[in-house]
Symmetry: C2
DNA sequence: CAGGCACTGTTATTTTTTTCACAACACCTA
DNA sequence: TAGGTGTTGTGAAAAAAATAACAGTGCCTG
């Protein structure tokens, strides 16, 4: 089990590696990756140690190979299936953004209460009515959900998702969700992020 | 100077306090706030110590008062002025979401290269053409910028923002920006967040 | 008013995370 | 082959963050 912080950084590293790969770069030194990721070279080496990856002194790391090794650690044996609940502005933006970025993260269903939305394919993904939620989650084996719906509906939906078998929730609604220990919850509150940036912009970091 | 993590939590606390205030709750114990914020009671007390706030044993914390004290620490003397660059799906969603949430964070300008967008008021905020960027930033005294534009334009815009005097950037474009030490940069990559959630959803946290 | 209760503020401790420092190693050059 | 250069992997040290522990305090009860 890798710590939260390291997972986050590994994800970043992989993504940096992939963009480097597109530019035909085949190997990198720790200090190069470090400067891209805005961390120290030692941090890079230590993180790679935790996934048991070895480069070679003088040669550094093989970009493609390292990216694959990170994938072996972060990605499951099978792709994770993802649902998006609430196909408003934010939901649609997310779906169109994510769908063609990572093959091991598949958005396989979206949900909405609005009858002008469900029953159709939106941004390349089928949108279902809210009352089909449990059925589809189980049928598809969805384990991860993204919440982009109004705050007042979020808790009830989270409860239903959990009962249906979802074990990870990425929540964009500005509301403090309560979930059981079984479920991994990550909140993405824009306001908090902006407040933080404003604070350090002012205080001069 | 407060550490990054503490600022993040304080922002969360304040927001929880405010929603409690709406429900007419006038005081709270550390363990109550802790359970809402998903942290330990000791953590709460320690965080409040760093901003020099004192509750009273038996009574706990005065909700309104504490919220104000956090504000005194996090918010500047004057509101921070914010610009949003790139008024696509995500930009519009963010502007409409934020604009009526925090009085000390004012979105005073948005920018776009699309001539069907600039020159108009979008989501309650004036949208300017890209070439007016420096002028407006300086004129308004904007210090914080949110980047919601295509990746390939992000670095160039970031450079211009920095030169114009912006000291904090909240970046949504999936690209590793390089900025000088003067600028506080926060990246919000959806993919990384989702990968993290998927990982811990699988590994069972 | 005395005593018990429940919570805070703060110090001490533990745990986690990051950085440092350096031996070991590959590779290049002559 | 020998020596120099530059990078890795990792144990040790340092720093930061979280947790625990507890004395001190207001408050209630009888
Ligand atoms: N807009 C942003 O940038 C932003 C940022 C952070 C958080 N948020 C939050 O994300 C949420 C969505 O934002 P938005 O701008 O997309 O709003 P929106 O109103 O455009 O979209 C909300 C969607 O959710 C649907 N919905 C309502 N109740 C539902 C339910 N019970 N189950 C399923 N779907 C339901 C609505 O039909 C609508 O399509 C809000 O809670 C908002 O506060 C938004
Ligand atoms: N959509 C998401 O949920 C999401 C999530 C994370 C990151 N992102 C990233 O955020 C960015 C925006 O996403 P979107 O869905 O809003 O895309 P979009 O195409 O709807 O919006 C992009 C906007 O930026 C404008 N633009 C282009 N070049 C510009 C420039 N040089 N200066 C100013 N404006 C410019 C375009 O005119 C357009 O209005 C993209 O980089 C995307 O990868 C999106």
């Amino acid at each position: 089990m890798i710590s939260e912080k390291i997972v986050e950084r590994l994800s970043l590293y992989r993504w940096l590696l992939e963009t480097r790969l597109e530019n035909e770069v085949s190997n990198l030194f720790s200090y190069q990756l470090a400067s891209m990721a805005c961390v120290s070279p030692a941090q890079i080496r230590r993180d790679l140690m935790t996934i048991g990856y070895s480069g070679s002194p003088g040669k550094g790391y093989l970009v493609a190979d390292l990216a694959k090794s990170i994938g072996k650690e972060l990605d499951g044996a099978k792709p994770s299936k993802v649902a998006v609940v609430g196909m408003g502005n934010l939901g649609r933006a997310l779906v169109s953004f994510i769908s063609d970025r990572r093959s091991h993260l598949q958005i396989v269903a979206t949900f909405d209460t609005d009858s002008t939305k469900y029953g159709r394919v939106i941004c390349g993904c089928r949108c279902y009515a809210q009352n089909e939620l449990e059925k589809i989650i189980k049928l598809e084996g969805i384990t991860v959900a993204i919440l982009t719906l109004p705050s007042d509906a979020a808790q009830a939906v989270a409860d239903r998702l959990e009962k249906a078998g979802v074990t990870g929730i990425l929540n964009y609604a500005p509301v403090p969700l309560k979930v059981s220990k079984k479920v991994y919850l990550e909140n993405r509150d824009v306001t908090a992020a902006l407040e933080k940036v404003a604070y350090f912009a002012r205080e001069g970091d």
